[in-house]
């Protein structure tokens, strides 16, 4: 029951596509479930749970972006804006119509999917660099629209307060409640992505990424599938935006500016393009990086600098580390943390025997 394979020994497509390639995978998933559903939320302090919540939100967004960039090969620098579309849709629905969270969540996701598909339309004519610039334009135009149309942004400072989500009569007030709330969506997003990529749609996405002309020749409707990739990816982004809004208790366009789009791109590049596990690793890494830097600087920064300058240096240090990491990963390990993890695993798989 706990054995592992020592190489690729699959003889059928069913075995290759299985969600649990080996019995041990079930045990791993069960152990992780216990860890994340019981051990972590019941032992950690509220502050660490709030950090974990940020990670969960980032995981969903990174998975969505990876569907588009990693699996379908279409660049998007507009995901921050798609999140804001979801966030403001949800905030407006919740405040004006008193809609509960299941409604706002789905509506926010669908609205973002719609906007994302519209921004993705140029991807039919242009690709690569031009698409990157077109989505950048989408980001800036959506930002401007939300900021300037008071019907959407609610006027003052373009921010709308949102009540905490409720489950029946229970209000999800504490970080621990939010942790469980978010974790459910993380599980849904992971399983959803894994299954999407095993389906006809996922295979079409990968075919478009690998060689779009060949994909068209074997009968994949590129127009449909590219838009679908934008829509699905933006749906994830919209849901991320809604969840983040519920987490913060406020919808604010400043939380979804271009820097956020870049953060999410960094997550999937550092984590690994075209891999679910990589999206998770990248989301954890990029979310924790500024927090770790702040702790490190508060602990050791005083040795080198005045206490006052330390506070000023932290955001700059974060930017420098962030940029350096992106470049180092791109040059040294383009397949990201996921590849490092696989290397470590395959080393220990047959350890201590070299072959």
């Amino acid at each position: 029951m706990i054995h592992r394979e020592c190489g690729v020994l699959k003889t059928t497509y069913e075995a290759d596509m299985a969600l649990y390639p080996l019995p041990i995978a079930r045990w791993t998933v069960a152990a992780l479930a216990v860890l994340f559903f019981l051990v972590i939320p019941l032992t950690l302090h509220e502050y660490f749970l709030s950090v974990a919540n940020l990670v969960w939100i980032a995981v969903i967004g990174a998975l969505g972006l990876n569907i588009l960039v990693g699996y379908t090969g279409q660049v998007s620098i507009g995901h921050g804006a798609f999140m804001s579309v979801g966030a403001y849709t949800a905030a407006n629905l919740a405040n004006r119509l008193g809609a509960p969270w299941p409604v706002t969540l789905v509506a926010g996701g669908l609205m973002a999917a719609l906007v994302g598909a519209v921004v993705g339309i140029p991807s039919l004519r242009i690709k690569g660099l031009y698409l990157a610039i077109a989505t950048l334009a989408g980001q800036l135009i959506i930002e401007w629209t939300i900021n300037h149309v008071t019907f959407i942004s609610g006027g003052v400072q373009a921010s709308i307060e949102v009540a905490r989500p409720r489950l029946g009569s229970m209000v999800l007030n504490t970080q621990r409640d939010m942790y469980y709330f978010l974790l459910v969506f993380v599980v849904l997003a992971i399983v959803g992505t894994l299954n999407l990529m095993r389906s006809r749609i996922g295979r079409a996405f990968i075919a478009i990424r690998d060689q779009d002309i060949a994909a068209e020749i074997i009968g994949i409707n590129i127009f449909r599938y590219k838009l679908l990739a934008f829509a699905i990816s933006s749906f994830y982004a919209g849901v991320t935006g809604v969840l983040y809004t519920y987490f913060l208790g406020i919808a604010n366009y400043e939380q979804f500016q271009i820097g956020v789009s870049i953060d999410y791109l960094a997550m999937i590049i550092i984590g690994g393009l075209g891999s679910v596990l990589g999206s998770i690793f990248g989301a954890i890494f990029v979310t924790l990086l500024p927090i770790v830097i702040r702790y490190a600087m508060e602990a050791f920064g005083g040795v080198f600098f005045e206490p006052q300058t330390v506070l000023n240096l932290i955001p700059n240090l974060r930017l420098m580390m962030f940029g350096t990491l992106i470049i180092v990963f791109l040059i040294v390990e383009p397949e990201g943390l996921n590849r490092l993890w696989r290397n470590i695993r395959s080393y220990f798989r047959v350890w201590p025997f070299a072959y």
């Binding site: 690709k127 660099l129 031009y130 077109a134 334009a137």
Partner: protein
């Protein structure tokens, strides 16, 4: 002449001057794309960083202006060469997203390193030119913008001569046209990649000094870079005259839009209008007015 028409002329003249200053920055982008097919998402940060060096030298270390400008130029040229050697050469042949993300990472580093090493907060970058704008009939011409437009046109002429007449320029055109054939003709392609980045460094250094004088030097100076994309898409990514024409179009459009639309929507049209124009251009003519028609269709 009615007052409305005077207002229109004023907007036009402002648009032309500011547009030429955009062209200066866009030139840096075009030079690199033309020679190396790399996309520089850090162009605004190049300008900002050059501004930081110049302002830091002038205001923090107190050296004379000409040394500060020379220092910025020298540093940016060296930076261009080093960058090509350590980062971009390793990314040759990778997908577009790799270069895009690498330059975005570079942008983050430059944004951090300026305030980290040189100074934090905002510093002015005074140049020995008058502050008072010249008034000429309906026109209202700030001297710094005249200087910027002049530098921009001088660079256009300079690069025009360089690419058409000089030996190095012809070699660079060959590299841009077809790297393998250029290599076969005995041109050191990698060296010219470095030269292209160094030329971007020169343009960015002067852009940094001029824009730094106009806006003051801080991290927000890098936001100028966002104007580069509409300019180069409109003009064509690999065309030097295109950078000038694109700059003029963007400058004029944003000023006219700001002048006539801003009062109705409460500001911000300046940053918005060029991007709408750019989306239209991408839909209709993605390779720009002067660009090479090699856009890949499916």
């Amino acid at each position: 002449m009615s007052e409305d028409f005077g207002f229109f002329l004023l907007l036009m003249s402002n648009g032309i001057l500011i547009g030429l200053m955009y062209s200066l920055i866009a030139l840096g982008f075009v030079l690199v794309y033309k020679a190396t097919d790399a996309i520089n998402f850090a162009q605004g940060e190049f300008v900002m960083f050059a501004g930081f060096v110049a302002a830091g030298a002038l205001m923090v270390w107190g050296v004379p202006l000409w040394i500060a400008v020379t220092l910025a130029l020298a540093l940016m040229i060296a930076f261009g060469f080093v960058l090509e050697r350590v980062m971009l050469r390793k990314l040759i042949g990778r997908p577009v997203i790799s270069v895009v993300m690498a330059t975005i990472g570079l942008a983050a580093i430059l944004r951090g390193i300026g305030p980290f090493v040189i100074f934090s907060g905002t510093k002015p970058l005074p140049l020995p030119i008058p502050d008072e704008p010249f008034t000429l009939g309906p026109f209202f011409l700030p001297p710094i913008q005249l200087l910027g437009a002049g530098v921009s046109l001088a660079f256009l002429a300079g690069f025009g001569w360089f690419f058409l007449k000089s030996r190095k320029g012809i070699a660079m055109r060959a590299v841009a046209d077809n790297q393998q054939v250029a290599m076969a003709m005995g041109i050191d392609v990698e060296r010219y990649f470095g030269v292209a980045w160094a030329m971007t460094g020169i343009v960015s250094a002067l852009g940094g000094v001029l824009w730094g004088n106009m806006l003051g030097v801080d991290v927000n100076l890098a936001l100028v870079g966002f104007k580069v994309f509409p300019v180069v898409i409109l003009g064509g990514l690999d065309s030097i005259p295109g950078a000038i024409i694109g700059g003029l179009i963007v400058g004029i459009v944003e000023n006219i839009a700001a002048g006539y639309v801003d009062p109705h929507v409460g500001g911000g049209t300046k940053d918005f209008a060029p991007y709408v124009l750019m989306i239209l251009a991408l839909m209709i003519r993605p390779y720009g007015i002067f660009g090479k028609r090699i856009i890949e269709r499916i």
